[in-house]
Amino acid sequence: MSANGWFQIGLFVAAVFLLTKPLGVFMVRVFEREKTFLDFILRPIERLIYRLAGVDEKREMRWTEYGVAMLVFSGVSMLLLYLMERVQLWLPLNPQKFTNLESYLAWNTAASFTTNTNWQAYTPETTMSYLTQMAGLAYHNFTSAAVGIALAIALIRGISRRESKTIGNFWVDMTRCLLWVLLPACLLIAMIFVSQGVVQNLKPYATAQLVEPQTITGTGADGKPTSKVVTQQIIATGPVASQEAIKMFGTNGGGFFNANSAHPFENPTPFSNFLQMILIFAIPAGLTFTLGRMTHSPRHGWAVWAAMLSLFLVGVSTAYWAEARGNPLLAGVDQQASATQSGGNMEGKEVRFGITNSALFATVTTDASCGAINGWHDSFTPLGGLVPLTNILLGEVVFGGVGSGLYGMLVFVILAVFLAGLMVGRTPEYLGKKIEAYDVKMAALAILIFPLTVLLFSAVSSVSAFGTSSISNPGPHGLSQIFYAFTSATGNNGSAFAGINANTQWFNASTGISTLLGRFFAVIPILAIAGNLARKKTVPQSAGTFPVTTPLFSMLLVSTVLIIGALTFFPVLSLGPILEHLLMLAGRSF
């Protein structure tokens, strides 16, 4: 660890802090239909869209209608992507003539992108045509992010409205989110990325002659050694910058290339790397301010922000410490950072990012449900790898995915308020809304679906041939691989621990189901909470009211997240990364 490393982490926190308020205020204006500086150009477009789609923008929806609209929209979008993947060979913009996807992989990818997961069981640059990337995957990057934000806004409305039957209009929230928040920002961001060297074209892949031909040896299907001389390199290009912007800003994380943000065409410079990390946290952090502003309790928004930040700091410090101190098995080898080397555990990391920015990126991308990576989490030290895993297990509520981070955290807020709220001698209240049996029931449902999916699928995979055959390393590391796969899919993160062969029928089917369960089964109870809270009266605040604006509240929130997230998964973590770490200290590796 170095002062320079800590300074970079500090710089990152400062940037997130500075972005929180302006973005939060802007989103309040967008979703409360107040005036913004973009209205002069966007309002006519918006009206046109409503007229063409037959949407009455004044009409409000109950939570059930909002939910049905959201499900129908997501379902139809998912089906379209599936069809596009299945026929891409016959569609335009496929200069590499990539074939149609087989059904399991197409299903998995469609489910994954619809749910903002972007789990990629394939290698994009050898699988997806430009059209599929742009009109299929990038389309979902925008809409799945907008769906998440719309849901969070609907929940905030539920909290802030009183005695109201409705929580907004899904179509209007979607449209305004896309037109005002996502599209203009991504247009700008794509330009910046291009300036850094991120490629943007529709050309066929370039072919380059190798300066020095390479001989690749291996083992053939018959078990005999094979050898092949390679003289050419195919360099994949494409419309990367435009996709990269929304990939980060919408916390999608699905890379244009398999190497994701470790690829120099996706993430060429330290600046582009810094910008990418900032983009991941931008909207989620801003939404905490939106929450405070819309519920007329700005300090509550900051209290939630503070709880998120503390969890982030614990994670990033652990990951940075674990990676910077290097591999204990390489005792005697100089692993100290110096002018000539990055030091620490550099396996699976990009030299241009080094330890700090790899550890920071891994923490940020898993705190949020982004899933973009700039290094292999699989190659992290056991404790370093434990951080991304734990981040997802906590429910990705440390800023979290766009919208999903906030609504996930608000479920924890409701549970924290209920658990601790009784201790002030009143029926628990959250911002004046009484938390009653129905709300607790829905919050419990929303929380339960995640461990249910992750634990059951992982358990089945860990004791069945179709599960364990995908593992690349035996022992506790193999368990981590399986567990990470389902955690990442169900948590709608999409990052891969790597090392596991996820493109099998079992994993494609099961992780696909996991992404859908993790997203839609969780948001229905959350919408139900929004609808139920909106109906309630608001109890005026008094000295007897449970405080949700204090550091103590932030601490209680952190404890609730840790108790529910960490305690549930402690047994399996102790058999996975924790055991691996202890075995490593004892000199065994996998």
């Binding site: 002030v424 009143r426 029926t427 607790v440 004791v463 008094s542 209680l556 924790i578």
Partner: protein, 682 residues
């Protein structure tokens, strides 16, 4: 004997009660009863599974019998301890119910038939609408209203208060309760309740907990506990495949032990006891809550509506000062005032006599030998007084006296006017005294605020509860008393419908309102309020309308009721937090123990340095069972309540029950482990 006068001794020392609770806790193992408590039901399923596996193991001479046997035994103990907590809480109520049942002995009623004849029927056969006749020495056969006559009634069977009370037809003291005894005179009573629905019946059901329904908050908490149970059930059930993958499969005993330790058994086992004990605490203070919902609502109350008279001030006004007119000796004024009041039997009148005696040693004079003519107060003159040896002494309100003296060309002096205004502004009532149409001066009658009220209102304010005084006085007087007593607000010149409007207005703002009342005209407001406490001395209508009845008829008790409601909720929250926080230590005891065999490196997690894997797991299970027993007194007594603001209260309770909940099991489990090793139990 009175059932509601309780001894303060701890119920643990009551052998009979404990004996009965022990037997009840065995009976409560019935799965059909257990089903109602999801957490403990899971424990029971685990205990049954462990027992079956144990029996199976015995038949096949499986190894580790001592360990499996002890785990299984402690699982059953966990259940019994939880049942014991509930049985103890119910036991106190059951003992009271038995006493109440005795007092509900068979009575014979004299019922009027349709043609006016009288017939003898069993008291148990009376129905609402029947009219009965009760004479001195008889038990009143059922709840009802006195429709004719007046009688003194011994209500000690209900209230525990041995002094008889007067019950009479009309007015606000017409309600009588079945099971109370008429001591003198005779009354005609119209029965208002059907068999099985009388006040005593309801009271028996209440204290017995027979009709106990889960309260809204209890239901919500139960859902949360069920959710946590499912969560940990998942964690444990899926642990076996992971353990198999890792080459360290676990025995059923260990898995059940882990499960039982992780699910919130502490709060799950104590939850119903806490609720029952909360109701019981009210009963001990002679308050009958008609539902647990009302007790919870009491904790949530935002505004207390308190009647001025009897609640904030002592029942009646009293004379406090004499202000003589210019040129009049104060003693002469006192003397005249006393003479004018000698025949005045109202509390105010008596207080004037007493003040004159105390201040000037003026004794009550025997007027029977002199020619004295007392002039009583009438609505027309609005004065009272005495004509004595040709001297006409009068006292009365300023307006009345001014009119009276004006008839003889006299008038009230400016100084006296001034004194009158000052007394009024100070919240007092001025009475002018005249002697032969000359104004001698003013007597000030003032309200006496009960001692300690200001502190109590300060406490309530700290808790975020506003107090509002309701009075029929004019705004000026009301403001003065409100200031003196330290209430937040007041409603002056209040009519019953104003009270109702006030409640609705506050409720529309989302606030919960509590009030007390006794008269029939209070009934609508009592029904509208979220917590309506009816005085037992009040009318039947009031008692029906409220959701609590105070047998002592002490309106100040509303404050205690609020505190009990809060205490109930705090106790639940504190024990839930404690229970969940306990899990951290249990993980550190059990997880390394489970896998240390296969992976000795995991012993790093054995931070308590527990002796062996078996002793570690057993210690955790024993701690988990014993903590229930250890917390029963707290559950029954309730967490000590302090009148603090929410932030301070939260900080305090998080520290004690949250942090304490993390630390306590580390200490406890280590201690048990040491004992287990010392006794070579495994």
């Amino acid at each position: 004997m009175s059932p509601t006068v309780h001894s303060r001794t701890s119920s643990f020392t009551d052998g009979a009660l404990v004996g009965r609770a022990v037997w009840d806790s065995v009976l409560k193992l019935d799965p059909r009863l257990m089903w109602r408590n999801p957490v403990m039901f899971v424990v029971e399923v685990g205990a049954v599974a462990a027992s079956i596996d144990l029996t199976h193991g015995v038949m096949h001479h499986a190894a580790g019998f001592a360990f499996s046997l002890q785990i299984t035994i402690w699982l059953w103990f966990t259940l019994l301890f939880a049942n014991f907590a509930e049985a103890m809480a119910e036991g106190r109520g059951k003992a009271q119910a038995d006493t109440l049942r005795k007092s509900r002995a068979e009575t014979v009623a004299h019922r009027f038939t349709h043609d006016g004849e009288m017939e003898e029927v069993s008291g148990a056969k009376l129905r609402a609408g029947d009219i009965v006749f009760v004479v001195a020495g008889e038990m009143i056969p059922g709840d009802g209203e006195v429709i004719e006559g007046i009688a003194s009634v011994d209500e000690s069977a209900i209230t525990g208060e041995s002094a008889p009370v007067i019950r009479e037809s009309g007015g606000d003291r017409s309600a009588v309760t079945g099971g109370t005894r008429v001591l003198s005179d005779q009354i005609k009573v119209k029965i208002t309740s059907n068999p099985g629905e009388t006040f005593i019946d309801r009271m028996i059901k209440l204290v017995e907990g027979a009709e106990r329904q889960k309260t809204p908050n209890e239901i919500a908490l139960n859902i949360l506990l069920a959710g946590l149970t499912i969560l940990f059930l998942l964690a444990v059930v899926t642990l076996q495949p992971f353990a198999v993958y890792s080459g360290a499969p676990q025995s059923l005993f260990v898995l059940v032990a882990l499960l039982v330790c992780l699910i919130p058994t502490t709060i799950g086992g104590l939850l119903s006891a806490i609720g029952i004990a909360g109701m019981d605490r009210l009963v001990r203070r002679n308050v009958l809550a008609m539902s647990g919902r009302a007790v919870e609502a009491a904790g949530d109350v935002d505004i207390l509506l308190l009647d001025k008279t009897g609640t904030i001030t002592l029942g009646n006004r009293a004379a406090t000062i004499f202000v003589p007119s210019p040129g009049v000796d104060e003693k002469d004024l006192a003397s005249a005032a006393q003479l004018a009041s000698l025949a005045d039997e109202t509390p105010e009148g008596r207080s004037i006599v007493v003040l004159a005696k105390e201040k000037y040693g003026l004794r009550g004079r025997d007027l029977s030998t002199r020619e004295a003519l007392f002039v009583p107060f009438t609505a027309q003159t609005r004065m009272s007084g005495v004509n004595l040896d040709g001297v006409e002494i009068r006292k009365g309100a300023k307006d009345a006296i001014a009119k009276y003296v004006a008839e003889r060309g006299q008038r009230v002096s400016a100084e006296t006017e001034q004194a009158v205004a000052e007394i009024s502004n100070g919240g007092g009532t001025p009475l002018l005294v005249t002697e032969n149409w000359r104004v001698l001066g003013v007597i000030a009658l003032t309200d006496i605020v009960k001692g300690g009220m200001r502190e109590r209102f300060d406490h309530l304010r700290a808790m975020g509860i506003r107090t509002m005084m309701i009075t029929g006085d004019n705004p000026l007087t009301a403001a003065a008393i409100a200031r003196q007593a330290g209430v937040d607000d007041f409603l002056a010149e209040a009519k019953p419908e104003d009270k109702m409007a006030l409640i609705k207005r506050e409720q529309a703002k989302g606030k919960l309102v509590a009030m007390t009342g006794d008269g029939t005209n209070d009934a609508p407001a009592l029904a509208q309020a979220d917590v309506g406490v009816a005085m037992n001395t009040g009318t039947q209508a009031a008692k029906e309308a409220g959701n609590m009845v105070d047998l002592d008829s002490n309106p100040t008790k509303l404050i205690e009721i609020v505190e009990i409601g809060k205490q109930l909720l705090i106790t639940r929250g504190a024990l839930t937090t404690f229970s969940v926080a306990n899990d951290v230590a249990k993980y550190f005891a059990i997880i390394p123990a489970m896998f240390a065999g296969a992976f000795p490196q995991l012993n790093v997690l054995n931070v308590m340095h527990l002796a062996t894997p078996q002793s570690a797991i057993l210690s955790a299970v024993i701690f988990n069972a014993l903590i229930i027993i250890a917390l029963i007194p707290l559950a029954l007594r309730g967490v000590r309540y302090r009148p603090l603001g929410a932030a301070a209260l939260l900080r305090r309770n998080v520290l004690i029950y949250g942090l304490g909940g993390v630390v306590a099991p580390f200490v406890g489990i280590k201690l048990i482990d040491v004992i287990i090793r010392y006794m070579h139990m495994v």
